[in-house]
Symmetry: C4
Subunit: 254 residues, 4 copies
């Protein structure tokens, strides 16, 4: 078996933009693409299956099963065609990752996608202070002038390597002549980060010139923060009681 894309339908699109959000630190890419699919009421039109995904199936609460898959969704917003790629992004080998990204790019070429946005997080290993920043990386440095106020690696200490589907989509896209921008939200990396997802979607909003309602993410972020704050207080109380002082951030949701 090879990685393959099964079409339920081929949408009629014009100069579509492809938005990928399959994973990454803090689940930022995944949360962002899932949010877009819901908000835009996007329609699923194709599924990607791969023997390079882990050999398991996902069991729903009603007892039905399905294979892991990444799906393609389509939405038209303000006259703009958006293709959103969401779902499974973890593969078991570098070769599998290359194969999967190539298949996504084949769909992109079939639909004449001229522009890619790849969404993800960049892990800092510490709690973010204030609004999470967004780092932009692109196939061409000209693209980086599009948004304003986004960090580019040259301005800040950022590793010279970007691992996984998000980076490969740009790298392999570039060899096919498809321009792409990667938007990475600052995140601790050890917990699901709705605030970083908000920052990334706001950057996308500005670059695409469309409106994305992120109030649900705001709510979810507050819930998580309340929970974390409660856990932290509880933890500090206990530590005080026991006189323990050595640990620093053990209460994050991993």
């Amino acid at each position: 078996m090879e990685t393959e894309v099964r079409f339920l339908k081929v949408p009629r699109v014009k100069n579509p933009v492809l938005i990928e959000g399959l994973g990454g630190a803090g689940h930022v890419g995944k949360l962002a693409s899932e949010h877009l699919v819901k908000e835009m009421k996007a329609e699923r039109f194709a599924d990607l299956y791969s023997p390079h995904f882990l050999h398991h199936v996902l069991v729903e609460r009603d007892g039905s099963v399905r294979l892991p898959r990444a799906s393609f969704f389509w939405a038209r917003v303000n006259g703009k065609d958006l293709i959103i790629v969401s779902g499974e992004g973890q593969v078991t080998s570098p070769e599998g990752q290359y194969e999967m990204v190539e298949k996504i790019l084949e769909v992109a070429e079939k639909l004449e996608v001229r522009r890619i946005f790849a969404l993800g997080g960049y892990p800092t290993g510490r709690q973010t202070e204030g609004k999470p920043k967004v780092v932009a990386i692109a196939t061409d440095r000209e693209l980086l002038k599009e948004g304003k106020g986004y960090l580019i690696p040259g301005e800040k200490d950022f590793g010279p390597i970007l691992v996984g589907a998000t980076g490969l989509l740009l790298g392999l896209g570039r060899t096919r002549g498809i321009k792409g921008t990667c938007l990475l939200g600052e995140t601790h990396g050890a917990f699901v980060d709705h605030r970083s997802t908000q920052s990334v979607l706001e950057a996308l909003e500005e670059m695409l010139g469309i409106k994305i309602d992120t109030s649900v993410l705001e709510e979810r972020a507050r819930e998580v923060e309340r929970m974390v704050s409660k856990l932290r207080k509880e933890f500090e109380r206990r530590e005080l009681a026991e006189g323990a002082e050595e640990r620093e951030e053990p209460w994050y949701i991993r």
Copy 2:
């Protein structure tokens, strides 16, 4: 070399049901399929060989060797055609697992199988109290109404992921339009479980409307239990003698 199926004979069957039992926790699937082959006096008609099995051969007590393989057996019971898949199920990579399951499904399509039952165990990590329960999972939620009294994941705390051939058979079968039910017997997971196998076969009995004699399994279960009970007493005697108290379940056969 590719994974391949070699036919000794192509059985003439009508609307056959395919029953897979290749492995899983507590060896439940394996025990169940081997029991069915024996009880039904099923005839072996094809063998699946794969370079994704471990690179070894099995040596019989008479000194002859053979490759690891999964085999297809055929039996007609009460006018019903059953295809039983039994044998080697362990492969060395996720890609190999996909390839193997695809080959089983190719045989299923060739024989016009319309229904799959995949048998296995679900590990709880603790000794089962009373009769082992059976969890049912299926390609379609309608199938779950067939049996009565089986747990479905939504009713109980069951992990959202099912690893290995058993789950993939349903997942990949679903993409080919073959309906399937997975029956998983509750089991500790650390020892060979004949009682859990009995429960699974009783569920299969009810769903298929055929009779399966499981008295041999009952006997084997009692033997294992006597042995375990003896070992446990011996162990407790020694522990008492030595005053040791820290370990809890170290006497299981792994």
Copy 3:
């Protein structure tokens, strides 16, 4: 790149016997095939190269390099055609092992080989007392009646699994209808074992009805034994001096 066999020449042979000795415990298979090539003045006629060998080259003492390879040699002894396979046998994956053995069998079919002898060692983890015994395993139990006095697994406690090229050659050969016998010499497993190699070659001698001079192996075995004995005495002297007693077999050549 695929595993491939490059012929330097195709020997004209009649009902040849193929003898494989690529590795195994105590280097028994390797020593045996190398000894046969030398003693029989066998001619190298083909080389097998594989991307599944480790990605290195072998450097000779004169500074020249070559790829790892397994080679095919041909000798005619008492009117019998022998094909000897000797050289690199270690591959980096189970799939690679299957591929390599399939290529050897393709050569065997091309030359109309009707019989295979696969040579190796079986590790006991302890020093062999007396003459090393030989265990025989075969594709058909009839073949086991050929030699006399060889152990078969049913007579002695022998694991039910045989890993690597030697076993696969029989297992895959069997599916092609080529009969084969595996001769495994009893060996400690932790050092190069010339005595076990002698035993295996004597078994082969008897089964093939040819004469194999093993006096060189006898000499090498004595050299190793003298060295080991000297090391042992030296070691015991030091242990006595230091009063140390805890270690048991640390002087083996690994």
Copy 4:
């Protein structure tokens, strides 16, 4: 996706020499090929991409990304055509390494390369005293008479195995009838070694009969030495102060 070479241009060359420097101990091969590209003002004419490279992209300081790749450069020096291979050399599997080297050799055959020089380091695990020596290895022992004064493995204690692209290029090249010499500079192995790179380039200079200015490497080597010397003094001062004496070479740049 397969490993593939994308040509930007096919240079017109006559009896070119291919010089590979992709990695190796002390980064000697990499430093050497990068130095040659700069000094010779070589023109990049083809890129090799591979799914066997790690699944990441490289981010430049200006925020643009590109895939890991090995590149082919062309320069004409004193009427001699040189093809230099420089860039990414690390792959994730032995099979991938074979595939990559085969692709380099396909380019070599296309351009009718009759001679290969593969550059690297051989690690000694200790600081080099005096000028780093160069070990020469070749597909044919005749080639080893070309340079003068280079060590060959038979003269010195050198391991019988050479791992990676550099060795494979000779080994696989030999099976295609392309002659090659490998020049390995003596190096500690734990830090980037400009002096060893100088030695290797001087050996290449002599063998090719061309002039290579290595003064920049000389400067870089002195910088590193000054830094190391400073660190060492600082370290000794502290050790003296603390009376510590156990560690020996912990200040190398890894």
